[in-house]
């Protein structure tokens, strides 16, 4: 058999110098290690302020302002969580429980209306033909270029007319009209990248426009919508100017305002308390981010398109 001949010939011919293979492998390992060391160094440098913040919540005022090292001098202080307790209780009559609740009362409805309005508007821009569509779309993109501050005054006056000052409406309502142009734009672009075949198949299966949206388009948009929800959550959670303009009663303050208020108190401030509570304030955003991360990775157009 001719095949046995070639097979027999193989082992006698030495594999092309195994020393060379080892050398290459070693070189690759060294370069890999070097890259990791450099990247870890840079990463650490960028995260250091965060570590410092964490450590500072266990320090005294005096130590906070005099040391750059992130751990407290006396490590037993790490077991003392009183700063967290004091920060949470605040010096006002309300605890941060109230402020967190207030924040969620703004954030959750706002995320929901953003998702609904963005999807509807993006669906229309990406999938329907109607007169003036191009013009409307360019207006929408145009508003993205406006500095948000320009809108503050007219919006304030408008909500004042409507009697909505010192309520959460001015913070939520605009999003119900897809005023977050960036999100709408994001979803439009995403939808444009999805082939129409699936929607056409669903039309033939008997979907009307709304069923199409709900059964097919929304599931396809899931990765984009998760990004939208995530960013809207974080940005609204961190929004300071909005509540500052519209909310005047302390009882209705969201976390961002309450934090600022704790710093404003005249007299002696325990910075550890403030730092502790700002760390707590980061937690919801971080949690949401890590929960959503999975979906970013899972990826977008995992449709039936394959060779």
């Amino acid at each position: 058999m001719s095949s046995s001949k070639t097979m027999g010939a193989r082992p006698r011919r030495r594999l092309p110098s195994s020393a060379e293979v080892l050398r290459t492998q070693r070189r690759e390992r060294i370069s890999l290690a070097l890259r990791y060391i450099i990247l870890s160094g840079v990463g650490l440098l960028m995260l250091y302020p965060l570590f410092w913040l964490l450590g500072a919540s266990f320090k005294s005022n005096q130590e906070i302002f005099t040391t750059i090292w992130f751990l407290p001098k006396d490590l037993t202080q790490l077991l003392d969580f009183s700063a967290y307790y004091n920060g949470w209780m605040t010096r006002t009559e309300f605890t941060f429980a109230t402020y967190f609740l207030n924040s969620f009362l703004i954030v959750v409805p706002r995320v929901i209306v953003t998702l609904i309005s963005c999807t509807l508007v993006a669906y229309s821009f990406a999938r329907f033909e109607y007169p003036g569509k191009k013009f409307l779309f360019s207006i929408m993109i145009g508003t993205m270029l406006l500095p948000p501050i320009v809108l503050r005054v007219p919006q304030y006056l408008m909500f004042k007319e409507l009697g909505m000052i010192d309520t959460y409406w001015p913070l939520i309502l605009p999003s119900a009209f897809a005023i977050d142009t960036f999100f709408t734009f994001l979803v439009v672009q995403f939808l444009r990248g999805i082939p129409r075949d699936m929607e056409e198949a669903a039309i033939i299966d008997g979907c009307n426009a709304l069923q199409l949206l709900w059964h097919i388009v929304v599931p396809l948009l899931k990765p984009a919508l998760i990004s939208v929800a995530l960013f809207q959550f974080i940005w609204t959670m961190n929004d300071f100017i909005g509540p500052l303009i519209y909310i005047s009663t302390v009882e209705k303050y969201p976390v961002s305002l309450a934090l600022k208020m704790s710093m404003d108190v005249s007299g002696e401030v325990d910075w550890a308390n403030i730092i502790a509570i700002s760390i707590v304030a980061l937690l919801p955003s971080l949690t949401v981010f890590f929960l959503a991360q999975r979906y970013f990775i899972e990826g977008a157009t995992s449709s039936g398109i394959k060779g």
């Binding site: 056409e200 669903a202 033939i204 008997g206 995992s302 398109i305 394959k306």
Partner: protein, 387 residues
């Protein structure tokens, strides 16, 4: 009863481009009709108009006895398989197939029966629990077909369903689809099918009748063999068959009491049956067409002698391609390049020929075609024998 009738169908896209220019066609009940043509000839446009995915700009479209111009897709009794399968990525295979039935409000029990039956027919019961991204191309394709079958549509529409598959899988799916169609028809279920492809092999093997399209107009509608033997014009002749038919400019001349064609310095006698239609064209330029398989060595064409006069000439050898049982031979004759398909057993001297060497070749002239130089119309269409 579900024939599909197109009467003077016109499509003008919103940008003003007229893609379909008054197409008339009848697809009979239970027939497997193939639309074939080069890319951009509006095959998909016509299919999508039948499906209800594109509006019809003019003319009348009937499915069965109903004019469906203004009916929505779901009211037309059609189902469609897309090139990219278009499975719903977030639904399991079972739900992909059941989706349309659920929307139609069928009872759960019946949905279940139909889906399992279709899955059995397509041998994909083990796939029902998977998501589309867990399927191979061939499996996804079967699911897409299954999704159509469960709906028991009057008409199946296919838009290049096999073109994303590799060559081997494509060949086997071709057979499966044809078998499936026969099976449905034998069971007495509605099974009219319209199948779009740009691949003439698919068209020839699958179609009971083939509709050849070019630039939004129908060139010819006929059975595969008729299309092959009697193409109505040079376009159809060139499009059907592989390698392509040799179509070269030539002059009709009087020869030996009959007619012949002159290609450069070479004269090929034409069969007597061509005399009637060509007698008034002596001295005129025409296009001479002959398929590669109708050129051979003197030995290989012996059996074909009954097709009338053989013409044996000397050509100049250029190149050969071994295909196993055949040798594709490229040679020059009268200043034109020709291709011939010669059975390997008869290749003889061609197997050893050097570039530029003269070789002897025989043309089966009874199988030749003469096309009008300007219009491309086949002048000898009635004179060509059917195989």
């Amino acid at each position: 009863m579900a024939s599909v009738n197109l009467e003077k169908i016109v499509k003008t896209y919103p940008n003003g481009f007229e893609a379909v220019h008054g197409v008339d066609l009848e697809v009979r009940d239970g027939e497997f009709m193939v639309f074939v043509g080069p890319s951009g000839c509006s095959k998909s446009t016509i299919l999508r108009m039948i499906a209800g995915l594109e509006s019809i700009s003019g003319g009348e479209l009937k499915i069965g006895n109903t004019v469906v111009n203004n009916l929505r897709a779901k009211e037309r009794g059609i189902a469609m398989v897309f090139q990219n399968y278009a499975l719903y990525p977030h639904m399991k295979v079972y739900d992909n197939m059941a989706f349309g039935l659920k929307l139609a409000g069928l009872p759960k029990q019946e949905i279940h029966e139909r889906v399992t039956q279709a899955a059995q027919m397509l041998e994909m019961e083990h796939l029902l629990d998977r998501l589309p991204r867990q399927l191979s191309g061939g499996q996804a394709q079967r699911v897409a077909v299954g999704r159509c079958i469960v709906k028991r549509p009057e008409v199946f529409l296919f838009d290049e369903p096999l073109s994303n598959l590799d060559a081997k899988l494509r060949a086997s799916m071709r057979v499966r689809l044809t078998e499936l169609h026969r099976e449905l028809r034998e069971r007495g279920e509605p099974s009219t099918a319209i199948y779009v492809t740009h691949d003439q092999v698919e068209a020839m093997t699958m179609g009971e009748r083939i509709c050849v399209l070019k630039d939004g107009t129908i060139q010819q509608v006929d059975s595969p063999t008729t299309l092959y033997d009697r193409p109505v014009n040079a376009f159809v002749a060139g499009f059907i068959g592989s390698p392509e038919m040799n179509i070269r400019n030539a002059t009709v001349v009087a020869h030996d009491g009959g007619l012949g064609v002159e290609l450069g310095d070479t004269l090929l006698p034409l069969p007597a049956s061509f005399a009637d239609v060509l007698s008034n064209r002596v001295g005129q330029k025409v296009q001479f067409g002959i398929r590669p398989e109708h050129i051979g060595t003197p030995q290989s064409v012996l059996g074909a002698a009954q097709h009338g006069n053989l013409a044996t000439v000397k050509g100049t050898f250029r190149l050969r391609e071994h295909m196993g049982n055949e040798v594709y031979t490229y040679f020059e004759l009268g200043g034109h390049e020709f291709a011939a398909r010669i059975p390997t057993d008869f290749a003889g001297e061609i197997d050893r020929a050097e570039r530029g060497q003269p070789i002897e070749l025989s043309f089966i002239m009874g199988k030749a075609h003469i096309f009008d130089l300007d219009t491309g119309l086949n002048l000898t269409v009635a004179a060509n024998p059917l195989s």
